[in-house]
């Protein structure tokens, strides 16, 4: 009996190749494209024909995925998870911004949609596994435990987005691309004759295609939910006013609307009072952070003891050495080995040891030398 795997297909080259590889490995592949973001307004009959065909990028993307399924001869379905995505990812995105934090919706989408909601669907469809085109590796150790590892291609490694996966999820997940480089993936796609071989990377957050997060949050909020207020310096001196804390992220330099001799950065956002504190580059430095809702890939390190790890506090940052202690409330106190970069509340903080993901959590606040003890 072939093992059935539900492959989440976006229409991009990565998930296309992931599905194709599993098909070649003789899995019973079932491809699904998830309808997640709300539809754009439907095109009117008088619009130019090319626009009518291409208004919604996701429809074209689904067609690309469908073509891969046809070429590789496995069944393919579009499934509608818009309501789940709105309730579990988009609402969280909005409320995090309103709370003065900077969310990472891809982490939430993985946790809530791809490795939870989609898994329910997989079981409903009698599938044994869920697979995606993520660049990360899963290995089973001699102890029988599953380990989540960085991808071989360091420039594409997406293990940062996957720290919420526990033993249960890892045991039924396949990442076929973990040992491949992007170049190899594209070459494989070309060799297989997949239409998606040379598709460009997608960059933006899928449900905010124009990248204007502030406007998106405003459209999804009532005026009473917005927190306008003042921009101040580290001494509390008011520099100007702003229209809402959701327009800022810690570490941000542009768009502060403050004329100053020095380059100023957002240092802290106090959502309740609407105060955005700015400081110089040096004043952004932190000594560590507090993370909450911590997940450990292997719970056995949650001993309460201090452990040495490397932490990555933004996807595009390098991991830096730190010590960490996880308490029973799933909060982690982390101290960087040396002065660290700006810590952005709401972002994920992922703990590594070498290539292995030990776990991660969501950043609650930065620690500075003074506050650390």
């Amino acid at each position: 009996m072939k093992r059935r795997v539900l492959v989440a297909m976006s229409g991009g080259v990565d998930s296309s190749v992931a599905a194709a590889i599993l098909r070649e490995q003789d899995y019973d592949v079932v491809g699904v494209a998830m309808r997640l973001a709300p539809e754009p307004t439907s095109p009117v009959a008088t619009a130019p024909i090319a626009k009518r065909r291409g208004t919604c990028c996701s429809h074209d993307d689904f067609e690309d995925a469908r073509r891969v399924a046809e070429r590789m001869d496995f069944p393919f379905y579009v499934i509608d998870l818009r309501a789940d995505f709105a309730a579990r990812v988009v609402d969280n995105f909005v409320s995090e911004y309103l709370g003065g934090r900077t969310p990472n919706p891809c982490v939430m989408c993985n946790r809530e949609i791809k490795f939870d909601r989609l898994w329910s669907r997989a079981r409903a469809l009698n599938a044994d596994y869920v697979a995606t085109g993520h660049y990360a590796r899963i290995e089973r150790g001699a102890d029988g435990k599953f380990h989540l590892l960085r991808a071989v291609d360091d420039t594409k490694d997406q293990s940062y987005f996957l720290f919420t996966l526990g033993q249960d999820e890892l045991s039924r997940t396949i990442f076929p691309l973990g040992a491949m480089t992007k170049t190899e993936v594209r070459a494989r796609a070309r060799a297989l004759g997949l239409a998606t071989a040379d598709k460009p990377e997608s960059q933006e957050i899928c449900f905010v295609p124009d990248g204007d997060y502030a406007s998106f949050v405003e459209r999804r909020s009532t005026p009473a939910q917005l927190r306008p207020g003042s921009i101040v310096d580290v001494d509390g001196k008011r520099l100007s006013n702003h229209a809402g804390v959701h327009r800022f992220t810690v570490g941000q330099r542009r768009g502060l609307g403050v004329a100053s001799g020095e380059r100023l950065y957002v240092r802290e956002i106090r959502a309740e009072s609407g105060v955005v504190v700015t400081g110089t580059r040096e004043q952004l430095d932190s000594s560590g952070l507090i993370a909450n809702r911590v997940n450990l890939v292997d719970d056995s390190i949650a001993s309460g003891n201090e452990v040495s790890v490397e932490v990555k506090i933004r996807y595009r940052h390098r991991a830096i050495p730190a010590t960490m202690r996880v308490d029973p409330e799933r909060r982690a106190e982390i101290h960087f080995a040396s002065t660290g970069p700006a810590v952005t509340p709401g972002q994920a903080c992922v703990f590594y040891r070498g290539d292995e993901v030990l776990g991660g959590g969501f950043i609650e606040r930065a620690l500075t030398e003074k506050a650390a003890n």
Binding site: V30, A33, R35, A45, C56, S58, H59, F62, R66, P75, Y77, V78, I79, D80, A83, D84, A86, A87, R88, R117, S120, R121, R123, A124, L125, N126
Partner: protein, 388 residues
Amino acid sequence: MSIYLDHNAGAPLRTEASAAISRLLQDAGGNPSSVHRAGQRSRRALEAARAQVATVIRPADTRQVVFTSGGTESNNLAIFGAITAASRRRKIISSTIEHSSILAPLAELERRGFNVVRVAPDSDGRIDPARVIAALDSETALVTLGLANSEVGTIQDLAPLASASKASGASFHVDSAQAVGRIPVDVDALGCDLMTLSGHKLGAPAGIGALYIRDSAKFAPTIFGGPHENGMRAGTPNLLGAVAFGAAAEAAMSTISAESQRISSLAASLLARLREAIPGLRLNGPLVGRLPNTINLTFPGVLGESMLIALDLEGVEVSMGSACAAGAVEPSHVLRAIGRSVADARSSLRISLGWSNTAEEIDAVAAIIPAVWRRVAAAEPLSEASAR
């Protein structure tokens, strides 16, 4: 081997239709409008097919059947042909449960300034003829309604509408795509001006349909070109499709009463067994006054989308509402119109039987569907899916 239970979307090609296509391919003819003998052979085949197709609605004059590219074209020709002929009148009466090939043209006409009245059905999907008659007036250009609903199978009582339409000077169009070949239809007894027929619902290939146009109908052509099809629909007819349609129609009509009995009892048996195995299963549409082949069911506690895919992977092919442009399924507008909640509509599937189905298949399906329902309900309970 899969079990195909989606005849309302399109029936598998009948062997008779396939044989007719093969015969015609052996004897490659010319354009039926051409003078030469190759053209004459084609013309003879086309007219023979027309006579066969006409038997499904029994018109006094078979020449009033015009071949089209399918049900959608027939509905469009009927609607635009009728409103073009009734130049001054700007009102159209229809219902909320029609096929998209009626709803979409009406939405377009509404956009162009027409007054479209959509009568709502009762909770079984029945359109009250009195409500249509009440909406008729001297402004009404057209009444356009389906004879049997594609999703829940309700058969409408349209008999009172022909004389009422005529009395107020409106054209009366009936979409009988889902009804013909399954239940007896007599276009003259019904008295409508225009009637839509579809080939692939009967076991012909997709791409062939017909529009019945009564000689007295107020109808203006909307496709212009050569003098084909009595000038009603320009373009060289799809002869391969037409002969297949003719053969499928003849096959359907030669067995209609026995076949209708057989399908009806298969469907009843399936329904009874599903009801026994699935507590809370609900039938949408009326118990009587329905197409013998159509069962629309609301499955408790599951998403229809999951059921549909899970069944497909088990080799059972059914349907749910209609597919959107992206290929995802949308909740049925018909179920919404007969008062089902969005949640119920999302939990519903349509099972439609036809000539290809056997008692063995129905036995198999009567076991597979409850097993799949139990698995889906356990793995992906509705309570877990977000509130919709």
